[in-house]
């Protein structure tokens, strides 16, 4: 588990509507460029990959660099095509992955 994730997908939409999807995960996104109180550098610790799939089909992918603020937030769009599951996955630099899903009903 990387952190607590918050996602927002409209519960229902009309077929063909463009819907906004929002995803946020709590994570320090340590840049690796800061020094601690004793002067030693704080090691880099960031989430590198974010992928969103709609019924298994990839609809959005982002690669994060240390210039992404702590608790990375993404908002993007997709076309509501059919009812199903929208899955979000975050992978950190150590390879740990966290997945969260949301259901959508399309009329």
């Amino acid at each position: 588990m990387i952190g607590r994730a918050l996602t927002h997908v409209p519960a229902s939409a009309k077929r063909g509507d463009i819907i906004e999807i929002k995803a946020l995960i709590s994570h320090i996104m340590e840049t690796g460029y800061r020094v601690g109180i004793t002067g030693q550098p704080i090691p880099r610790d960031i989430i590198e990959d974010f992928v969103c799939t709609y019924n298994g089909e990839e609809i959005f992918r982002a690669k994060f660099y240390p210039a992404i603020a702590a608790n990375p937030f993404m908002s993007f769009f997709t076309v509501a095509t059919e009812s199903g599951t929208i899955a979000f996955s975050w992978t950190d630099q150590h390879g740990a992955t966290q997945v969260q899903t949301a259901a959508i009903t399309v009329e």
Partner: protein, 159 residues
């Protein structure tokens, strides 16, 4: 024998050199910042040799940033997002953070609208560039100059 009698000029020169050295030592303690040349290299690594044209892309950033640790940022690209004409990828680059890359996003005709928002870190007052790669291989960009009053990366962590 002539005693060493420092002229006004030589005293000032020495003082200036010492002050200069002090400033230099202080700057070198901070993390090395990227340069516009490093940004150009990062752009080439991301999009290859494609020619970048101005237009079609709108990068939304506040012109004056009070806290560089979290700056809301939206990129919108003018595109019909059809199978034969869509945005493949959008990249954001900076000139003066320690690293020139900010984010790279992949999307497709499935998105309906070529736009995304996130929050970024800015270590200095600088130009931010967004580049969109289209399905036909062309690249379009927008550049925004941002003034940052409190920079990210420099504050000390809480004990």
């Amino acid at each position: 024998m002539a005693r060493y009698n420092p002229s006004r000029r030589s005293v000032l020169q020495t003082a200036g050199a010492l002050a200069g050295a002090g400033t230099f030592a202080r700057i070198s303690l901070r993390p090395a910042l990227a340069t516009p040349e490093m940004m150009q290299d990062a752009v080439r690594a991301a999009i290859g040799e494609a020619q970048v044209q101005k237009g079609k892309v709108k990068l939304d950033l506040p012109p004056l940033v009070e806290n560089g640790n979290s700056v809301p940022c939206t990129v919108t690209v003018d595109s019909p997002m059809m199978a034969n004409d869509h945005v493949k990828a959008i990249h954001i680059f900076n000139e003066k953070n320690p690293q020139p890359n900010v984010i790279s996003v992949k999307l497709g005709p499935r998105a309906g609208k070529a736009s995304f928002s996130t929050r970024i870190r800015l270590a200095d007052t600088q130009n931010i560039t967004a580049i969109a790669e289209m399905s036909d291989g062309s690249c379009w960009s927008d550049e925004v100059f941002v003034i940052v009053t409190l920079a990210a990366c420099v504050e000390e962590p809480k004990p």
